[in-house]
Each structure stands twice: as structure tokens, then as C-alpha cells.
Symmetry: C2
């Protein structure tokens, strides 16, 4: 990525470079060297480790091609910051690779504003990248930092990992779940035509789909409290499943505890019962358990941390809900309020499962 202009050399002002300079170049604050050279340079503080994650968003698959570019800029970085949050890392910097079908100045203006506003909110600096012509695709690599912890084995880090869950741990999720998936179904016309979502409810749910808030502060606060953590991008069952698989354990999950996490259902006129009567409990469960695109955190902690979790929830003004218990027996067992096993199967979101 470069922002050099070569007017003096008789070369044309290059479209790509002018584009980068106009929308994405700002003075570097935290980086040793930001946008404008072959590489950016970053120096981590002594005793710190870098946390690195990459996400690619493709038009027509991860977002509608006509999505408001400001929201798209926000979401492109948000899904990456959510990975840093899952590790308890503090955001530092990111690179942006952008493939665009055409140079559309108002689109780029709005996209960069949405992107850089969230970057500024988390003091996460744009340090480099690439632009090219092609199908609308956004790829961000984000860099954060966590303190090393030489005493911790087998991975000498203070970062939250998926692999640390212990038998007896409580399993929590932050915030509300499933509303993004419900909004997507509504927008795709998958809800009954006779009972569309009221516009105020749809707007709230769509906010979750379009402008997720990465739980960066929560992740950092959880470092000394939680035993394992993942972010909810593919759906609760899938992402909790990753924790269980990596930790070599299982869990029992009472679905009656997670149903109230669907905010749209709680806020429905007539309450949850009316929602279930109109759309079916099955839809609510699908959205909460397998919806994807929530960007909340699912994490485990010893029961001794319950008071600390209550205090943390209060200080962050964010619900932290106990939904399951870690058990030695591998597998995720869904049970109803009476403890009876649920037979339903829920596919987690996967870009390669039809």
C-alpha cells in the first residue's frame, strides 16, 4: 500500500494510490510506520504478545451488495475486533485489503467513515493494505496485544483460549443472541407474510445484524476471570462446540435458559408467548442456538467467579447469562426445562455446508 504521487516524474497520478491517500491515509499514532511504504512497522511493548486474526467478507454471502457502506465499514472491522475480544486482547492496528468493482467516491467516503469511526473508538490504527478492482470483497487482518504469562502451560500467555474449560465451570454468554439471524430471515422473506416483524422490532434486530458491537472491554476484563472464551460468529452451538472440542470436555445446556436471550422475542407485543404463537418456538431456538453473526462472547468460568461476573456485568451494563455447565463427558447435550434431552438438530453456520 502506498500513497506516493508521482506528478513530477511525468507519470499519471495513479488511481489506486490516489484512492488510498484520499480515504485511508492518516498520520500514524501508535505504529512506528503506517500507510505508505512496502510494509508497516509495529513495535510491541516488552512482555507483550501479538494477537492476530483475519476475516474476509464477500458481497452476496456475508452482506447484501447494497448494504449501507458506512455500516459495512463498521461491520468489517467489528467482526475482526470480536476475535481480539475473544482472546482478551487490546486492539492495536489493522490492515485492509479491498477489492472493488469500480471506484465509487461516495461509497468509499461512507465506507471509510464507518470503518475509521470504529477504529478510533478502539484506538485501532489502519497501518496498511491493498486495493484492487474485482468482486466486492473486504479482508481485514487485525493485531492486538496481550501480556505473556510464562507460568501458564502449555501456552505461555494471558490470552483467553478456547482450550481452557474445566469440568464444573459455568458457561456464560454476553448480551442477547439470535436477533441478527432473525433480521436476516425477515429481510430474506423467510418469515410468514401474514405476520411480518413490526418495523420497530425489525429495526432493532437489524441493528444487531448491521452494526455489531465487538465486546472488546468485556474480553479484556475476562482475562483473569474466565477459563476459556470464543466469540459468537457462527452460532452458539458451533462456537461453544469449539470450546468443548479444544478443551476435551462436554456441556449440558438448558434451552429454556437461552430462549429469553432473543431480544426480539422478549420485546414482542404480547411477550414471548405471543412471539412463539406467531413464529414458533423452533424459529426462536434456531436463531439463538445456530443463528450466527451475534459477535457476543461465550465463555467459561469457575463457580467461584459468580460474584465477580455479576459485578462485571453491572460495570459494563451488559448482561452475562449462565446458560450451561461444563461436564467431563464430551459432547453438547441440549435439555429442556425438565432436564429431558432435546432431539432437534441445529446446523451451525458454515460457508461450505449447503
Amino acid at each position: 500500500m502506498a500513497n506516493a504521487r508521482c506528478t513530477d516524474s511525468g507519470l499519471p497520478v495513479s488511481g489506486e494510490f490516489a484512492l488510498i491517500e484520499r480515504y485511508f491515509t492518516r498520520p500514524s499514532a501508535r505504529a512506528v510506520l503506517g500507510v505508505g511504504d512496502d510494509c508497516a512497522l509495529l513495535q510491541s511493548a516488552p512482555g507483550m504478545q501479538l494477537a492476530i486474526s483475519t476475516d474476509m467478507l464477500v458481497a452476496g454471502r456475508h452482506f447484501f451488495p447494497d448494504t449501507d457502506p458506512r455500516l459495512l465499514g463498521h461491520k468489517s472491522l467489528a467482526v475482526n475486533l470480536s476475535d481480539l475480544a475473544a482472546c482478551g486482547a487490546r486492539p492495536l492496528a489493522f490492515t485492509l485489503a479491498l477489492s472493488l468493482p469500480e471506484v465509487d467516491a461516495p461509497w468509499l467516503q461512507a465506507f471509510s467513515e464507518g470503518l475509521l469511526a470504529l477504529a478510533d473508538a478502539h484506538q485501532c490504527e489502519l497501518i496498511g493494505g491493498d486495493t484492487t478492482r474485482g468482486p466486492l470483497t473486504i479482508c481485514i487482518t487485525v493485531l492486538g496485544e496481550v501480556p505473556m504469562d510464562a507460568a501458564r502451560l502449555p501456552v505461555p500467555t494471558s490470552a483467553l483460549l478456547r482450550s481452557g474449560a474445566q469440568t464444573g465451570d459455568d458457561v456464560y454468554v454476553s448480551g442477547s443472541l439470535g436477533d441478527a439471524a432473525l433480521a436476516l430471515r425477515a429481510l430474506q422473506g423467510q418469515l410468514p407474510l401474514t405476520a411480518p416483524l413490526p418495523s420497530a422490532l425489525l429495526a432493532q434486530a437489524r441493528q444487531r445484524l448491521d452494526a455489531p458491537q465487538p465486546r472488546v472491554a468485556l474480553g479484556q476484563a475476562l482475562r483473569p476471570l474466565a477459563s476459556a472464551c470464543a466469540d459468537l460468529s457462527d452460532g452458539l452451538l458451533g462456537d461453544l462446540g469449539h470450546i468443548l472440542a479444544r478443551s476435551g470436555c462436554g456441556a449440558r445446556l438448558d434451552v429454556s435458559q437461552v430462549l429469553p436471550l432473543l431480544a426480539t422475542r422478549q420485546h414482542c407485543v404480547g411477550g414471548p408467548a405471543q412471539f412463539d404463537a406467531t413464529y414458533g418456538t423452533e424459529l426462536a431456538l434456531q436463531c439463538v442456538l445456530a443463528g450466527g453473526d451475534d459477535y457476543e462472547l461465550v465463555f467459561c468460568a469457575a463457580p467461584a467467579q459468580r460474584l465477580a461476573m455479576d459485578a462485571l456485568a453491572q460495570s459494563l451494563a451488559l448482561a452475562l447469562t449462565r446458560i450451561a455447565t461444563i461436564e467431563a463427558e464430551p459432547g453438547l447435550r441440549l435439555v429442556d426445562a425438565q432436564g429431558a434431552p432435546l432431539q432437534a438438530s441445529f446446523a451451525s453456520f458454515d460457508h461450505f455446508t449447503p
Copy 2:
């Protein structure tokens, strides 16, 4: 990026995760934590800075959709390693984001082999990434390291930058130039039908297009010798133009010194004169000066370094050719062997210039 399998939880073995596990997951060597969690973790050694660069390759723009996937895997990482080389950084690790129209096992097998063979050759570890369904697009972010240098101002680094060229410096390029661009023209049918490139010459030129060798060892060796450096991805005029613009200076370039850098022209039966008679000197100049896709280095050094450069060229078995001199007056002046200004204009490669 995750490689967890959730068979025990009643979830299907996820296509995306199984894919990643099969082709791209290997034990981590240098990273604190590699593929399989929300973030990878990397710890840089004391006194080192991270060099970071991102490149995105789009099918139909940067490569033919039917390109041999093994070569494509190689080239995808090579163009990123070339950015590290330009800074004199030692490769450490990279992330890979891959958008694929379908899951094609032989394609993935070959792509990952080409990618990981080059990664192994440079001890550059795959630490994470993302896979999704979509138009064939490859985005790699590469991380390397360079020693910090607190005494150097305004950027306290030992990395080679574009901004350090000084009046009186020699300008060098490594290796040969323009053969990748010539191969591309031949493959696109832009050479005269009456005089196709002989197949042995085309094969050599195509090797430069398909399997560029990033000058990683050269870049590191240049750190104490060169005043400025860039890699040649967009063409000599454009990339040297970046050095001049960032360094606030100009250069005088004798095109008769760069014409012999087109290896295909030198190796032509009948010699360079026969090449020029058949294809025109203009074509040779276009390829050498503005061809792009060379992935050689262009760099500046004080005349006092000439003996050191000769020794370096010999030790690396790589030509290092002096092609220009840095001058105080901004701009890049092309002159012929007699010193007369060249009138021709050469567009550097740009994804957004039609």
C-alpha cells in the same frame, strides 16, 4: 480460523473447519499459538519490530482463473514476501484468507502444497486465516521482523524504507526485469502472430510470471548498505517513482542501461538486435520500465558501497545493476545513451487505471 470438529455434540463435521484442518493446519513452530483459536499469538524478540504487509489477488485480474493452483499458492505468498524483502525484514508468519467458488479437493491440495513449500523455504509459518465461499480471491497478510534502531530518525528502525534516498546515490535493480510482463502479453495474444515467442523463451519468461522468487536474502543483506528500497510489483517507473516521491528527490535513468535487463531479449536467437527488429524496442522498453509483476528490488546506495554491492551480487549469485543516479531535482528523467531526454510516456500498472 478454527479446526475444531464437533462430531460428539451431534453437529455435523463442519465443511469449513474440516477443510482448514485438512489442508492448512500444521503444528506451530515459531508462533506461541497457531491455527485453531480466535486469534494466533506471536511474540517478537526484544529489540525487534514487526513488519506487516497485505496483498489481495483476484482471479481474472491478478491471475488466470485456470492457473496451476500449485503456482498460484507459491505466487500468493511470494508477492507478500517480496514486500518484507523490500524492508529487509526476516519472514515470521502469515495469515491466509481464501474465497473459493467451490470445494475442489485436488485444487486445494495443490494450492496448499505450493503455498507451504515457499513458506517452509523462508521459515514463514501459516498461523491463521479464514475461508469462505465466493469469487476466487486470495488475501495474505505477512509478518516479518527487523531490529529497531533508536538512533535513526525520524523512523527509529533498521528497516529499509522508501524515504531514504540521497542526492548522488546510485540506483540499482536486482535480477532481470520485464519478462513477466512479456509472458503475459504473449499469453494474451498481444505479440505479432507472425512472430510468436519461441516456446523455450516463453517458458522461461512465464516462469517469471508464475513463480517469482522474492528477494528475501537480498533485502536483509541490504539493510546496512542501502539508503532506500522498494519491491518491483507495479513496474520500475512506478516503484522507483515511489522512492523519489517519498525521498523528495529525482533521478536520471539511462534506458540503454535497463534494456539489457529483459532476459528474453538477451536470450533471443540472433540477440537483442533480432528481438528489437521482430518486436520493436518500444515493446522491450514497455516491459522493462512499466511491466510490473517482477518482484525484484529497486534500491539506492551511496557510491562508496559499490564494492560491497559487487561482493553481495557475487555471494547471492544475483545481478545487481546500476541503472540511475539520484539527483536533487524532483522527477524521473529518462535519457538515451547519448543523454538526450526520452519523450515516451509509460504508464505504471494500476488496478484502477483503465
